[in-house]
Amino acid sequence: MIFKFTISGKEEEIVEFEKELLDILLRIVGDEEMVAHEIHFCVHEAILNILQHTYKWNVNLPIDIRIDVTEDAKSNKILKISIKDLGPPIENPIIPPKQIEKFQLRKRGLYMISKIMDDFSIEPLGKNGNITNMKKVLTLKNNDVPII
């Protein structure tokens, strides 16, 4: 399954997209409602990161989101989310902090995404734009139905 969205940074578009995203995630994760909310949170934070740091709150620029759901050999669901922006490419790939100070404000969003997702990276895309990649492996429970 592949889901594709293009949104701007306008508040109403983001809110509408995030509602649809949560519906999709809840369908994908089955009984693991908390996991759906956690992944939803990560996508929200990734979009917020682009708006704040890459687009500098220019809300008219596009953000492309793609969600791929596949299965591995053990029938675990693999959720890959990629979010592309058209902002100035970052100089170096962003590595989330492994630890965070008690009262530290900066990079806490990145830290949280890295704790929730199995893989997380932000890399430049050539001369124009960046890509945020996130991956989560959803372990199949006995009562889950394989997607294929």
């Binding site: 508040e11 809110v15 908390m34 909310h37 949170f41 917020l48 009262f103 404000l105 806490r108 969003g109």
Partner: protein, 125 residues
Amino acid sequence: MENKLKVKVSLIDDKICVLTIFGELTIFSNDFDLFVKEVNAYMKMGIFRFILDLTNLNYIDSSGIGVIIRLATNASKHNTKIITICNNAQVLRIFSVSNIDKILKFVKSVNEGLEFYNNDQGVSQ
């Protein structure tokens, strides 16, 4: 469509601020900026004891967490903690992932929070 944020504020003896927060505490919430300004204004007034009643909070993002960290940092400078009442599993999970659960004092009711501050040995105003 908008993310609704509603905040009720009670000031007790000009020393303790009880913030009862309803809805979603995110940067996309309507009135989020106003909420931040109001919280900053209370801190500038010298208030550092805050009780956050998050019983009716449905969602929080890193921006909302940032506000709580600023309150907790300010409280820490006065050797005390921010009191939090929260029973929403999703919000608690976000607190846990962000590690801010370690810098907050969780209680079950506003009265329990008031009792904590009454017995608190933190720096007085």
